[in-house]
């Protein structure tokens, strides 16, 4: 968008009071204010406003599904007109004067925080943490930053460039360590939880690889973390049905939590004979009384035998009591919490594991991921500050 076209477009903005565009923006960019700044050719303020609200302003300026957010609220639509092209103006503002953030010094006695994933959510989270004076280590499986955004969006080349531009401050900062080509599995995750003040899992939507494609309509979860993300992030509150695999107490508890939360059909798949030999048979009976179907002597490489499943959870690793609690809590909170549609951040109540960004829903969006990352980063920073204050007291 040229300067002239930007001025023309900015002049279309009515400047509504309590502007609906702003209230519909996931990152709460003051839309009218930045558009008015463009109109008065105060491009510096326009850039400040968008970058203050959204450190990945250039990135979102390319790929924000603005028609779902700000532009859906534009009052001009009530006149049957096209909404103001807010995303294009946003991109113009971000592109006019790029803002590289100035990070504060690292606060005393602050352990670094690990961020898993260098996509939009992870980068936003890292940015928020660094802004709070916390050092960050980012682990990224691929050999480049960008995550799904840089891999799957139609405008990925531009996005990739924009992401690098937006992440410049992080990439150049001495207190941000980016470990590319480093995959964080479940066990590594448990390890780094001890080394860092907190771990933010910002791995985003699982990307299916060849040979792993799910059945049509099916969402497979690789482990408790994915289920947790799915539960917190899904816009529809609960999956219609779920398959939990495992032999221990954890899958059983999770299955019971799922029925308790109102999941229509819950199947527990166990490789042994779950009825006799276990000390938890009373619990199992209770679960069955609550409607959990138990499939014995089966392994869940059993996707083939359960092609109708919406969710398949391999819960072997969930034996860890904390993880089990988390998932159980997630089931409870998903039904309990009235969620704003774009909130895709979740904070674990106990422990130091946080999840940010999008899980496996089709409605995932880049801006929502950024929002999730920012929120999680701020939340982690607040918790660390809290803990520090309590320690000081």
């Amino acid at each position: 968008m040229t300067r002239g076209v930007a001025l023309y477009e900015a002049a279309r903005c009515l400047g509504c009071h309590e502007a609906p565009c702003t209230s519909r923006c996931p990152v709460k960019i003051p839309v009218y204010e930045f558009i008015a700044s463009i109109l008065s050719t105060n491009f510096g303020r326009a850039a400040d406003l968008v970058y203050r609200a959204n450190p990945l302003a250039l990135t979102c300026g390319i790929s924000c599904p603005s028609w779902k957010y700000c532009e859906s609220g534009c009052t001009l639509r009530k006149l049957g007109q096209e909404p103001v092209r807010i995303r294009a103006l946003h991109r113009f503002a971000a592109g006019q004067e790029h803002r590289t953030p100035v990070f504060p010094a690292i606060a005393n006695r602050s352990l670094p925080v690990a961020v898993v994933g260098a996509g939009p959510a992870g980068l936003a989270c890292a940015q928020a943490l660094r802004m709070s004076g916390i050092a960050v280590t980012i682990f990224e499986r691929e050999d480049r930053i960008g995550g799904n955004a840089a891999a799957h969006f139609p405008e990925r080349r531009e996005l990739q460039a924009a992401l690098y531009e937006d992440a410049k401050g992080l990439l150049e900062d001495d207190h941000v360590d980016i470990q590319l080509s480093t995959e964080v599995g479940y066990r590594f995750l448990q390890e780094i939880r001890r080394e860092f003040a907190a771990v933010c899992v910002a791995t985003g939507r699982p990307v299916w690889r060849s040979g792993q494609e799910p059945y049509h309509g099916q969402t497979m979860t690789g482990g408790p973390k994915d289920l947790l993300q799915a539960l917190y992030n899904r816009r529809s509150p609960l999956p219609p049905d779920i398959v939990v695999e495992g032999n221990g107490r954890a899958p059983l508890t999770i299955a019971m939590a799922a029925t308790g939360a109102g999941v229509g059909r819950v199947r527990l798949v166990t490789s042994g004979d779950a009825t006799v030999s276990r000390p938890w048979h009373r619990d199992l009976r209770e679960a069955m009384e609550r409607g959990v179907e138990v499939i014995r002597h089966t392994r869940v490489r059993a996707y083939q035998v359960l092609p109708d499943a919406s969710y398949v959870l391999e819960a072997h690793d969930a034996a860890n009591g904390e993880t089990r609690q988390m998932i159980t809590a997630a089931f409870a909170s998903v039904t309990a919490r009235e969620r704003e549609p774009w909130v895709d951040a979740v904070e674990e109540k106990a422990g130091n594991l946080y999840v940010a960004g999008e899980a496996s829903t089709a409605e995932t969006t880049l801006t929502a991921a950024v929002m999730g990352g920012l929120r999680t980063g701020r939340s982690i920073a607040a918790n660390i500050a809290d803990r520090r204050n309590r320690g000081d007291a």
Binding site: A11, L14, C16, H17, E18, T75, K78
Partner: protein
Amino acid sequence: MATLETRFCGIPLVNPFLLASSPSTDDLGMIARAFEAGWAGAVLKTTSVESDEVRIAYPIMKSAGHGPAMRGLFNTDLISEKRADEMLEIVRQLKDRFPDRRVIVSIEASNRSDWESLARRSRTAGADLVEIALSCPQGTDLEGYDSEYGTISHDPTLTRTVTAWVVEAARPMPAYVKLNSGVTDITAIAAAAAEGGTAGFCVMDSLESLRAPELDSLRPDPGVEGLTSRGGYSGRAIKPVALNVLSKVAAMNHGLPISGVGGVYDWRDAVEYFLLGASNVQVCTGVMQRGFSIIDDLLDGTLRWMERHGFSTLDDYRAGALSSIVDNESLRRDVPIYYEIDPDGCIGCGLCYVACRDGGHQAIEFDSRTRRTTIVKELCVGCGFCRGVCPIDGVIRPR
């Protein structure tokens, strides 16, 4: 059947729409196209015996607002660069091809003999009228006369003197004075021109104005090598000023016709001029921006409006609104008035709420949830500001 045929200074016009002296009237082909489009006449770009020495310093224009949203136009244009005999040749050819259209020669000079010879030569060339261009905001001096006012148009004595010279030299062709609004008392100048024998008035020329420097380069725009000059301001923004001056001159009982200029873009502007006392209107900026074809809207819109109101000629309503202008003290204070918002038309932008809150009487409520605005009758004093703030005409109405 209503007609737009009218007269100005005794000369019949096929309609009351003339081209004002401007770049649009400096070229034979352009004026011919305008006449073909339907314009009743044209005031040629001002000529003087020194015209061939005139060199315009380009660029000369800068708008306020862009495109259709242009509010006004600043210019440092001067008179025509054509020699007087070239101008008069244009007069001859136009009169030859368009005998029913009016060709008005706008003249300017710096001494008596030039004023008089231009008037005489215009008559000989077959012009219908002479416009005495005292009014250019860039100013006109008169050799041999020291004026405390600086320019002729601000000086009643010089205005009377020059008018008398030109009127006498042009006779029997009528000559009229174009007024500049930037004077202390426009009626004193108009009265002086009437004493000098002017056949009518043209109200008004562009407003003397100035552009601030462009803020990146800190150089003037328009400007030449970092320098600029004062100039004239025209277009939509000056219409209320021109109507104000027009109404003052029209209320003077001199019985002379007035040609109105300033911010006419469409038929509504023109009708406003007629209602406040103009016999015809001249259009400059509107034509420069939108082209000669705006004549279609001017003719059609004015006629339909006249028929809607039962007027058959322009004289039926000309100056009709003058009697409604009184001193503010004479306005009644006890007439109840408040405004209402049409809930069906409201688009919920909340602009009226902000305006009333910070610029009015805090009489408008805004519901953040429904985005509904309501005027609290008891608090509304009826100032009328919200009407103009609302993006949709007619949604906020008086009750």
